[in-house]
Subunit: 104 residues, 2 copies
């Protein structure tokens, strides 16, 4: 329950959070997308946390139904993976979501 | 040397070969691209071969300079990864490479 609280706190307190793996190209694509319009997400590399990595992934799966990386949150809301984030960007909705979340 | 011979033989004897990992989206994208124009590549999932997986990856790195997946060969020639294959497709060169390789 402690680790679950940490995840909930992390996504509530940071406008953009990306759970990632360092060697995954889809994770890199999502990180690059945010950089392109000047946003510095909080990035948590699940493969650099030892045993906590898989534990966090299990919690993310319980909280979001998604066990894959990248796992993206904006303004505390679960967005999804790389394809979901790119789709929002193509529709022009990502920037406004980020703006609202950063103003909070 | 035995495993290296197997890799050389595999890429020489099959028109299109993709060394992949089952859970990697870039590997899936490349497999889907070939399927789109009706090509059935020989797919080798490195994460399903136990200890041989990392050994094959080391050999691929020695032979091609590339340790990442997907690792694509057409007509015995090293093409590269997902971005390289997609670039060739965008330039309209991928289909003709595959055609020449399949006629051999
Ligand atoms: N459509 C999803 C795909 C996510 C996905 O399949 N991620 C892979 C890595 S690229 C993963 O986490 N695989 C681990 C698994 O499938 O267990 C997205 O765009 O994020
Ligand atoms: N641009 C390359 C990227 C390849 C890449 O970075 N692949 C990742 C998985 S998506 C990989 O093999 N990572 C393992 C590593 O970096 O050691 C491509 O398009 O194939
Ligand atoms: S591991 Fe290959 S795209 Fe994520």
């Amino acid at each position: 329950a402690r680790l679950e609280e940490t995840v909930k706190k992390t996504v509530a307190e940071n406008p953009v959070v990306v759970y990632s793996k360092t060697w995954c190209s889809y994770s890199s694509e999502v990180k690059a997308l945010f950089k392109k319009f000047g946003v510095e997400p909080l990035v948590i590399e699940l493969d650099e946390l030892g045993a906590q990595g898989p534990q966090l992934q299990k919690i993310l799966e319980r909280l979001t139904g998604q066990h894959t990386v990248p796992n993206v949150f904006i303004g505390g809301k679960h967005i999804g993976g790389c394809t979901d984030t790119v789709k929002l960007h193509r529709k022009g909705e990502l920037e406004s979501l980020v703006e609202t979340a950063t103003k909070k």
